[in-house]
Point group: C2
Chain length 445, copies 2
């Protein structure tokens, strides 16, 4: 069903022994996305060879843009400035920006300086848009015609341009769109103004790319026109960009929740992964220290009733997971556009209610376990109440509020939320469990 | 930029006072995706009214299919069998299946029995495909022509069919595809056989929908042909289906990691959320009990050196988060098709290495804290070694292996992985920390 993958070992063998032409014939029919995968495990010298072969047949740009983003910097590092410059000239403007973005700061300027002034200005315009906005990823190659153009006139223009691949709609200057497919059945003399979708859904160059993806997904569009502040058409975002955005944003949500940087992929070099995870580990040490200092407050009680210590991981662990569940539901709802601030209060109340119900059940079970195992109904009661406080109130509340709070503060709602909510439930779990135990200590000994 | 949302309060007011015609004029120009959102907060009687208005203007099917999946069952419950039957007849086959799926088992048969035999057979054929396969969600409305058809002949056929909306490619019987856009610039007499994409990427009816989405995304297709076991074209998956699949699968991954059922959305009724989360909470109680029983083994040591108890949450918390990070990286890589079993070993080694480096740093910090705070270098050493065991070895290993193991066992790689890996790191963290402390107890007192 799916195209057979290119045999990796054969390519390595050929890179050692065969002529560039033979190699090109071997891999030439494959889709760039499959060719790109070859770069994954090659030695530097082989990377350069393969790049040169693709470059000389003008396929390097189409291939490299398919690479997982974490691999691109290492590959571009092996290619000299002059070739990277020509790669950028040949690439579509949005891919050119991807390449520029993968260069280290100081090299970026050096490579940009190699471009002709016009191209340089075009690339600079795009990289001036903040990261995460549609301006930065839109393609500026689109077709805009006047409303008086006839269907046949439009077809002639398309023929002239030759390439049709990235066109889904014709844009009628700054106002409306005509799906190209519709030209197929239009009488030759019909004017675009009679066929156009007036006032189509559009986005601004500074719109968040996630928001643009939501529009394309909700209204089932093939492309979204992007306009500047004055309402002038500046570019388009196509549905395949949207798929990339959605994948990227989903990764980002899962990653941010766990405290991971987006570039920290499965085969990112170890040293880079370590550098990116370390700050999160430090945050985690801090939230864990909060829990530790709560426990420290109760060393006296614990020393007196050492059996309490056994149940600490249960109160903390179940609370932490309950909070993670709640945070996941909220983060996902925000990402899919199902939850706005207007209904936030309703969502918080609902999540806390769910958690209280579950805490009643879990509290009952842990109490029963305490009675059967330690023979102490008072310990059971303390555990059940601590479970309701921690899993019911704290986990439900923190899990729902933290992502909403992060969003209100203009952070990503997922940012470190897993670490924060488990830190909070650890600390609050120990506080309620050991606090109650201290208060009722005479019944527990 | 984005279409103004329909004012919710106005609609509720109109449902009380205005005629159906006026209401229809008010909401009629909006996109079905926006109309669908109105259903979210209506009372049962208003739901029925709004449904009837949409139904009488043949817009109910297009609107209801836009609803978030967790809301559909409650709305269909309010509509009588006969109308649901007619809704299903009018809907596209793939939407019809969505509606059928949202009915409770016993009602499903009752409603199916109302359909004419031909339609009934068509729906039954689709719902016989297992959930999660493309057969179940493909649209069976596509155009297949013989290779001898000319470009003009194809255009005539398209005109005849009238509706063009879901067509991106013409399929040349069972073999190849012609992008409809290409008809625009083709000379009228050119045959489809000269324009077609021979041997296009395709999928089988039993292909996992996630795999189909990966193909569309990787090869930047607008539609993917779906064939049966004999290679006959049975349907297509379009790019807007793919966006839905990707969103759904991303939700699923995040949800499964935290131990959440997919239907457990932000506004799912409380009782249903509780019922779905409870089994996971019980699993969580069990994994937490494992950690608890490990702690129970060391009550003697803890009683003797109560200061140890303060550091327990740090070893467990940081280990748990490290394992969650690793599991997230692996789960995401599997989901995006970046990690296969062939490179699993390499991925495990890499993740463990990263975790060991981080554990060295975190162990150093916690040791320093122990020295400064408790004045005990031995305690510091024990903590550092326990951190390396738990965060370095266990978190890295379990975080990488559990998702791969789940996949090898044909489960979803994310399934409960958050709960499992944090349970393991809790237990192993206590075992290594308290085990080491017990062994070296004479240096610690």
């Amino acid at each position: 069903m799916k195209p057979a993958p290119i045999d990796y070992d054969t390519v390595r063998e050929m890179l050692r022994t065969a002529t560039p032409d033979r190699i090109l014939r071997f891999i030439g029919k494959s889709h760039p996305a499959d060719i790109a995968l070859l770069f994954k495990g090659l030695e530097p010298i082989e990377v350069r060879q393969l790049f040169d072969i693709l470059f000389s047949s003008r396929r390097a740009d189409k291939t490299l843009k398919e690479l997982p983003p974490e691999l691109l910097p290492d590959i571009l590092e092996l290619i000299d400035d002059e070739k990277v410059g020509r790669l950028i000239v040949r690439a579509d403007p949005d891919d050119a920006v991807t390449f520029i973005d993968s260069l280290p700061e100081e090299r970026r300027e050096r490579v940009l300086a190699l471009l002709d002034p016009e191209r340089q200005a075009a690339v600079r315009e795009i990289i001036n848009y903040p990261e995460g906005t549609v301006g930065r990823i839109m393609t500026t190659e689109f077709m805009a015609l006047s409303p008086d153009t006839t269907a046949q006139g439009a077809i002639d223009k398309i023929r002239e341009r030759g390439e049709l691949e990235t066109f889904f709609y014709l844009y009628v200057v700054d106002e409306a769109g005509v799906p190209i497919r519709n030209l197929v059945i239009a009488p030759p003399n019909r004017k675009l103004s009679e066929m156009m979708i007036a006032d189509p859904v559009k986005a601004n160059v500074f719109t968040d790319q996630e928001e643009a993806a939501r529009l394309v997904s909700r209204y089932e569009l093939l492309a979204l026109p992007i306009v500047d502040e004055a309402g002038r058409l500046e570019g388009i975002i196509t549905v395949d960009d949207v798929i990339d955005i959605i994948n990227e944003e989903s990764t980002e949500d899962m990653y941010k929740m766990a405290g991971l940087a987006e570039e920290d992929r499965v085969f990112t070099p170890i040293s880079r992964s370590v550098k990116m995870r370390l700050p999160w580990t430090i945050l985690n040490l801090l939230t864990a220290s909060l829990a530790a200092s709560v426990v420290g407050l109760f060393e006296g009680t614990l020393h007196e009733i050492i059996a309490l210590v056994t149940f600490m991981p249960v109160i903390a662990g179940v609370g932490g997971n309950g909070a993670t569940q709640t945070a996941t539901v909220i983060i996902r709802a925000i990402a899919l556009g199902e939850l706005e601030f207007a209904s936030a209060w309703k969502a918080i109340v609902k999540q806390v209610s769910v958690n209280i119900c579950i805490a009643l059940a879990a509290g009952g079970m842990i109490a029963l376990a305490a009675v059967l195992w330690k023979g102490s109904p008072f310990l059971g009661l303390v555990l059940a109440v601590a479970m309701i406080f921690n899993l019911g109130l704290m986990a439900g509340f923190a899990g729902a509020v933290i992502p909403l709070l992060l969003k209100a503060l203009k952070f990503d709602p997922a940012l470190g939320s897993g670490i924060i909510v488990t830190g909070l439930t650890d600390a609050f779990g120990f506080l309620s469990f050991l606090g109650l135990a201290t208060y009722f200590r005479r019944y527990l000994t």
